[in-house]
């Protein structure tokens, strides 16, 4: 066995030295790791936790929740159940949590919010037998749909928001069924988001490849100057760029007015270029193009032009030399640019919101709707979690097929 001058085993000495280097490296990264953890992982984790955890009913109505736990699906509620319910409603009304409870049940069964709030106002004056006095306030209290909805929301941890996020719901007997056809939205919007993002990635690639090639082929001082034009959009506000597209694309905008003035189209046949999918695609391609050009440019800069020249001298046509020699060398850059553009496009919110109209809406707009308008944060979290899952899945697929190590940013 090899030994160092100090008599210790060489292997042990090397491991100790490497351990020290690794510890030092870890300590250097620790501040950044802590920052990412507290500002990114923890808040997003808490938000995703909301998607499975909604204690609005379970925490504020303990007695009836316990009754649901103790009695299986299908048990007809008797006096004990009604007594527990009335006791909980009275307590919740006093603690001013009856509104939260009603809202939670309202997600399952429409119209029940006012049922709870009005019962809350009168529950304290109810007399036993509650199985008769509560339905006397409103017949809805005896309906099996209401009891089924309450059973669903009585557990704090629930998968119901994920079910809703894929257009499913629970029937009265507890089985999972599809939502009626006129309420289906999310699956279609997910598909639309992925397809549009793919389309935008392809268009960005087709437009960005020649630009990157030009920049990479020119002498440094010219390409640096032209690079400024690629980077200039980054210095302009995103909102300004998007509203500029509205001014260009709209019915009375620059493009349509020019075409009418040139006589190519008539005044009544103006093209509908904005407030639809076309608007979304055009504006998002413009905004995401630099993200495709820059990785491509960095990779192309490192390609030795001698290879293409050698191929041409050996008799390859221009196209063959490009296809068999140049293109494969740019593949890491294409991979990096495409992944970047695709992931950005999938999560984009502002541009589809402004120029997308109704048909150009992406999933992020629906997530924003639930965050801001309906204030149903659990559903928004479930949709966001599914989006995150889909993107991670695609990333993993990309790694299997192409390999992340084959990706270069320059």
């Amino acid at each position: 066995m090899a030994a160092t001058t100090g008599g210790r085993l060489l292997k042990a000495a090397v491991t100790r030295a490497q351990g020290g280097a690794r510890r030092r490296a870890f300590l250097l990264v620790l501040p950044l790791l802590a920052f990412v953890f507290f500002s990114f992982v923890l808040p997003i984790g808490q938000m995703l936790h909301r998607s499975i955890h909604n204690p609005a009913f379970a925490a504020n109505m303990p007695q009836i929740s316990a009754w649901f736990r103790d009695n299986p699906v299908g048990t007809v509620p008797g006096e004990a159940a009604y007594a527990a319910l009335v006791a909980d409603i009275t307590a919740a009304a006093k603690a001013r949590t009856i509104g939260v409870v009603g809202t939670r049940v309202n997600y399952e069964l429409s119209g029940t919010r006012s049922l709870f709030t009005s019962a809350g106002r009168r529950a304290a004056r109810l007399e036993p037998p509650y199985a008769e006095s509560l339905p006397a306030l409103d017949a809805e209290w005896a309906s099996p749909q209401l009891w089924s909805a309450m059973r669903n929301v009585s557990t704090a941890y629930t998968a119901d928001f994920y079910l809703a996020a894929v257009d499913m719901t629970r029937a009265t007997d507890g089985s999972i069924v599809s939502v009626p056809a006129d309420r289906k939205i999310y699956v279609e919007i997910f598909q639309r988001t992925l397809l549009l993002s793919l389309l935008i990635t392809v268009v960005c690639l087709l437009l960005g490849f020649p630009v990157a090639h030009l920049l990479a082929s020119l002498p440094m001082r010219y390409s640096n100057l032209l690079m400024i034009f690629v980077l200039l959009p980054f210095w302009t506000s995103l909102l300004v760029r998007t509203t500029a597209w509205i001014a260009i694309l709209q019915g009375q905008g620059v493009i349509n007015s020019t075409l009418v003035a040139l006589g190519i189209i008539s005044d009544s046949e103006r093209l509908s270029l904005v407030y639809n999918q076309t608007g979304t695609i055009v504006a998002m391609t413009h905004i995401l193009l630099p993200f495709m050009v820059l990785p491509l440019y960095s990779v192309m800069r490192t390609i030795n032009p001698a290879y293409v020249r050698a191929a041409r001298s050996l008799g390859a046509s221009s196209w063959t030399a490009f296809r068999r020699i140049y293109l494969p060398q740019t593949l890491p850059g294409i991979g990096a640019g495409s992944l970047l553009v695709f992931i950005l496009a999938v999560g984009y919110y502002i541009t589809p919101a402004l120029v997308g109209g109704a048909s150009g809406q992406l999933i992020s707009n629906l997530i924003a709707f639930h965050m801001q308008n309906s204030l149903n944060w659990s559903l928004a979290a479930a949709l966001a979690a599914i989006l995150l899952g889909v993107v991670l899945l695609l990333y993993w697929l990309y790694d299997r097929l192409v390999g992340i190590d084959n990706m270069k940013l320059g």
């Binding site: 001013r96 949590t97 009856i98 509104g99 939260v100 009603g102 809202t103 309202n106 997600y107 429409s110 119209g111 029940t112 919010r113 006012s114 709030t117 006129d182 309420r183 289906k184 939205i185 279609e188 919007i189 709209q250 019915g251 009375q252 905008g253 407030y275 919101a353 109209g357 109704a358 048909s359 809406q361 629906l366 709707f369 965050m371 801001q372 308008n373 309906s374 204030l375 149903n376």
Partner: protein
Amino acid sequence: MRKLLIMSTALCALALPASAQEITVMSFGGAYGASQMEAYHKPYMAMTGIKINSVDADNPATPLKAQVEAGNVTIDVADLEPSDLVRLCDEGALEVLPLDELPLSPDGKTWEEDFVEGGIYECGVGTIVYSTIIAYNGEKTKGVDAIEDFFDLEAFPGKRGLRKSAKLTMELALMADGVEPADLYDVLGTPEGIDRALAKLDTIKPEIVWWEAGAQPPQLLADGEVTMTTAYNGRIFNAMIEETQPFEILWDNQILDFNLYVIPKGAPNRDAAWEFIKFATDTQRLADQAGFISYGPTRKSSMALVGLFKDGKTQMASHLPTAPEHMEGSLVTSVEFWADHDIEISERFNAWLAAN
């Protein structure tokens, strides 16, 4: 030298608490926010010396809810729509206000007698009555006199602007289909009613341009992008008078709603916030704000004090939603109905919107 440094730092620390008190007021921005600045904020700052930090949001209910849940509230006063107010009040996110401390009207009426129906709640004091109306360019489009014309693409060709929400859009569709305002929410509460409203909207769906922010409809009209659009009446009025756009308002079947001031639970300057609200909602202030934007005051006593617009020429009274000649056929948004049915109807509406 060191002693000098320590002394000067200590003196700075003493000076900090002596800074002027300030409160943060969050509202919707745009022409409406500007009118509040002129009518409430500036007089209040001049009167008391308390600085008002004005913040804008598309819907103040969202940041308010987020702040209260996080336990880190920076807003003192927020401007809310009644449906959000009722929801947040029931959740305990808003302070219950001591309404008896509100000032009397000049003719001695208490708040219970002076505020219009729906203009005051235990968690919020109303400031304005606004309405959603149909606006069009008076020079390019002529002969619009009922909301059925909004759905008539042959007589009035061109695109239509509608707010991208079930609220305000579904009611318009039903009223244009012939439902009386008094029966409207009964009809809208049934699945057949929702189908009927969506079927009516289907007749113009390809021509609809959807707006979300209040400033978009006047812009769409000015660009010529739409022939007719729903809009908040105050924004259209400001475009008509200040920017001399040739817009016209169709008051038929207007949909009335309120805006109210609330104090979030855990606001840092609760007492100062309440003082501001008492000032901003007294009779004179509510009449003043009508001089900057054409929204009606929530106090009945203010109508008599409403005078000229800030341009010094236009009489405001006939431009307010609460003017008697506009009230015929008007619909007051039902807060209770939307609190119950918003989720279900929005789901149907979003699904209809997403379908091609």
